[in-house]
């Protein structure tokens, strides 16, 4: 397409992966654009790091403030950085559309780096749609960007390292936690131990985990291990009133006004799906991820992926990948990249950082009730479709999620399947006696974020410099 602003590299996402990439790209002399839908760079882990809001730095801990140096790197980089810019379409002919301040713009790129990060795994269970139930990550976002803590009484339920971190952060912030309901299944511990070799290599992470557990123990907050049958109950006003669960043979009920839930994070694949990139099912991490070459290249030769959107590895991995993948891009564009020795040492660091993953993935594999819900549990929050309804459609001849979508609207609401996609696939696999790989995933369509018809219409009028209003 002619007349569009052209870039050597467009980076989507200004989290650790995107920020690290931006620095490399600008140092190599690439004409680079970085876009992020957040008002400020940082991504999920370093959200709002440019203007930390909490007076007490110990609440979020030093791992948060580490992000300041990455941000400084981005600030010094010579490139174009547009915030509040939501990318809603990428086309095969190397152009993309983004919406910023109610206006859509199209730009062209030679190479594209998707560094769009992760989202928390959807956690369907009875009552998860009640006002008052939110994700642990959501509570952390409120803490990082507004200095807010949830209304008490508060219960935290779920599994995973991020849950422990956020519990610790809230406890440090002085929040009274009624209980932490840990749903990690007993059987996981045995399975994870087989991966202990990797865990020992990643001992730093292991140590952090133990410190967090200790911190929780010392705080005196009640810790219910191996809980099952999680259920949130409404009060007469329709808002969350209590949470119940089973531990051993005892049924517990805790009154609460906030319930924070979490079952790990999964790659944000929405954009890659809509572009039509190849994806594969990761049985260990129980999620979809893009199929990538070792150099980070997707099934489209000009589209690369780094960070958690390439597969969950955490912030440090994201940062290293941001650098290595950008180096590859720099070289493919015919410029001089890093020395081989430098790349080798980055690769080694990457391997070390990833060593603990199998242990964590097996340990924190969610309880079956969250992966394959039953009964009236809502699966599609937008269109309010239950697990029973989805399961029942198999009897009507549906063999895949695109057929169930057509039959019951699951996945057709504004979230476009982000909250139900993985569950619907799992339910169909369950009913058909096959596996997610064979069942497949929703066809995701543009726009991946809502854009008004007026804004879209304005793109039909050619304008100079690709800006249209």
């Amino acid at each position: 397409m002619t007349g569009l602003q052209q870039y050597d590299l467009v980076i989507l996402g200004a989290g650790p992966a995107g920020m690290a990439s931006a620095k490399e790209a600008s140092e190599a002399g690439l004409n680079t654009l970085i876009l992020d839908e957040q008002p400020r760079a940082g991504g999920q882990i370093y959200r709002n790091i440019g203007r930390p809001i909490l007076q007490n730095r110990s609440i979020l801990g030093e791992d948060y403030y580490v992000g300041e140096s990455l941000l400084a790197g981005l600030a010094q980089a010579s490139l174009t950085h547009i915030s509040n810019a939501t990318v809603w379409e990428v086309t095969g002919d190397n152009t993309l559309c983004f919406s910023a301040e109610g206006m859509s713009r199209q730009v062209g790129f030679k190479k594209l780096l998707l560094a769009t990060g992760a989202q928390e795994r959807p956690v369907p269970f009875p009552g998860w749609t009640l006002p008052g139930v939110m994700t642990c990550g959501a509570a952390q976002i409120l803490l990082k960007s507004s200095g807010l803590t949830p209304v008490e009484p508060l219960v935290i339920a779920g599994s995973g390292p991020l849950l422990l971190l956020i519990a610790c952060q809230l406890i440090r912030a002085g929040v009274r936690v009624e209980g932490i309901v840990e749903t990690t299944p007993t059987a996981n511990y045995g399975r994870a131990l087989k991966e202990i070799g990797g865990a020992i290599k990643g001992w730093r992470h292991l140590l952090k985990g133990m410190r967090m557990l200790n911190e929780i123990r010392r705080s005196g907050v009640k810790f219910y291990k191996c809980a099952t049958e999680l259920r949130a109950e409404p009060g007469s006003d329709g808002n969350l009133a209590s949470v119940s669960f089973r531990k051993g043979s005892t049924l517990h009920q805790l009154e609460c006004q906030t319930l924070l839930v979490h079952q790990g994070v999964i790659p944000n694949t929405q954009l890659g799906r809509a572009i039509g990139l190849e994806h594969q099912w990761d049985e260990v991490q129980q999620c979809w991820k893009p199929t990538l070459l070792e150099n980070g290249c997707s099934s489209h030769p000009d589209i690369f992926i780094a960070g958690d959107s390439a597969g969950i590895g955490g912030a440090i991995v994201a940062e290293i990948q941001g650098r290595t993948v950008t180096n590859e891009i720099v070289q493919q564009l015919g410029l001089k990249g890093k020395k081989d020795s430098e790349i080798d040492s980055l690769r080694k660091e990457l391997a070390d950082q990833l060593a603990i993953r199998p242990f964590l993935d097996y340990l924190y594999r969610p309880l079956d009730m969250f992966l394959r819900p039953q009964g009236e549990t809502i699966v599609c929050r937008c269109e309010e479709v239950s697990a029973t309804e989805i399961r029942g459609l198999v009897k009507q001849g549906c063999v895949g999620p695109n057929q169930t979508k057509a039959f019951c609207r699951s996945g057709m609401g504004p979230c476009q399947g982000r909250q139900c996609g993985s569950t619907v696939t799992a339910l169909l696999a369950d009913e058909l006696g096959s596996n997610p790989s064979d069942v497949g995933y929703y066809n995701i369509r543009f726009p991946i974020k809502p854009v008004t018809l007026g804004e879209l219409a304005s793109l039909s009028q050619p304008a100079q410099d690709g800006t249209v209003k």
Binding site: G276, N402, Q416, L456
Partner: protein, 376 residues
């Protein structure tokens, strides 16, 4: 694998290849006659016009180059209420049929005039009467207060309507299965072998046999037709469709470009591109559709688009259906059209009867739809 060792997985009176709207309607119609029908379809991802269409039961202007097509279209529109009642009554699924009439909105005087000429001509060709009206902007505004000021006018067809095509599919499957019909997602039928008055269908999951076979495989008919001696020169024509979020009801009648579903979502569409088998969307076309839709209904400017898709129409060179029995292999039929929603009731009724009984309803001259017309 040689034919003799391939597993025979079952047999039926009638096999319908293709589980889209066309195949399901015909299968339902024949099953209702008491014959055992099996529908063979592909898996989750396939080219399917039936899942990507606009949901119009549309009469006005259809068949401007073939009066017989206009007749079967109107017949189907008349039979539609009966089909909808039957489906809702037996499956409990409300397929949201509304036939209160429809509008074809024109943005320019010349566009309106062209429409008018077509419809006038059709009225002459149909001595039985061909109802329509031409509305100027003022008259149109009385029907739709939110119509945009740049609109020239519209043509009104009292027989037009719309339906929820996805619920229609779901209801057809449920009704067909409740009558004992079988749906087999066995993947592509790769070969049809006529054998002593019967047919053997080869699939990834083994062979199936039948006495009659109906080719209703949409674009797949091009490949399947010659296996039973029928030439089906169908080709894809892409349409892109936009879906905007649910809004309060504002559009009481479907239009050729924009319609509001009963859920409240707004669909905009009607692009026609010759792009092969690409079901993608393009910014340019989507933007044009949005431009047209927001000119017709300016209040849509602020509404969020939440999804878009491309789907392939199944076109014939003259745009009209093919209904044909094989001369070489009697018992093999081919059915294809590019208005499978509109013609659903005709397919489930007279067309299914024609296939199950072997003789056509006198109301329609099916010879007019023979594929031999393309060999001239």
């Amino acid at each position: 694998m040689t034919e003799s060792v391939r597993l025979n997985r079952g047999s039926s009176d009638v096999a319908v290849i293709g589980g889209g709207l066309v195949g399901l309607c015909i299968a339902l119609g024949i099953q209702k006659q008491g014959q055992q029908v099996t529908v063979y379809d592909e898996g989750d991802v396939a080219l399917r016009a039936s899942r990507g269409n606009f949901g119009l039961v549309w009469v006005q202007g259809k068949g401007d180059n073939l009066p017989e097509y206009a007749r079967i279209t109107r017949l189907s529109a008349q039979l539609w209420a009966g089909l909808a009642d039957d489906l809702t009554q037996h499956t409990g699924i409300d397929i949201q049929l509304q036939q209160r009439g429809g509008l074809f909105v024109c943005l320019s005087e010349s566009e309106l005039q062209k429409r008018q000429v077509i419809l006038e001509q059709m009225a002459i060709e149909h001595p039985e009467g061909y109802p329509y009206e031409v509305l100027d902007l003022q008259q149109l505004r009385e029907m739709i207060p939110d119509i945009g000021p740049e609109v020239a006018g519209a043509t009104w067809g009292p027989e037009d309507g719309h339906v929820n095509p996805l619920y229609l599919m779901r209801a057809l499957v449920a009704r067909f299965e409740s009558l004992g019909g079988k749906l087999v997602n066995a993947g592509r039928v790769s070969n049809i072998i006529p054998q002593q008055g019967q047919f053997v269908l080869q699939t990834e999951q083994g062979d199936f046999s039948c006495n009659k076979v109906v080719l209703a495989a949409g674009l797949g008919n091009k490949e399947l037709g010659p296996m039973v001696g029928i030439d089906a020169p169908v080709f894809p024509n892409r349409g892109q469709v936009l879906i905007a979020e649910r809004v309060r009801p504002f559009l009481h009648y479907p239009t050729g470009h924009v319609r509001q579903t009963e859920e409240g979502t707004v669909q905009c569409g009607d692009s026609k591109e010759d792009v092969g088998f690409d079901t993608g969307t393009t910014t340019e076309v989507l933007a044009q559709i949005a431009q047209r839709a927001t000119t017709m209904f300016p209040l849509l400017k602020e509404v969020n688009l939440i999804r878009s898709w491309g789907a392939l129409r199944i076109m014939t060179p003259d745009g009209n259906p093919i209904y044909q029995q094989s001369k070489q292999y009697p018992g093999a039929y081919l059915v294809t059209c590019h208005s499978g929603v509109t013609l659903a009731a005709a397919h489930a009724g007279p067309i299914a009867d024609w296939i199950s009984t072997g003789s056509a309803d006198s109301a329609i001259d099916l010879e007019k739809f023979h594929g031999s017309r393309f060999q001239l």
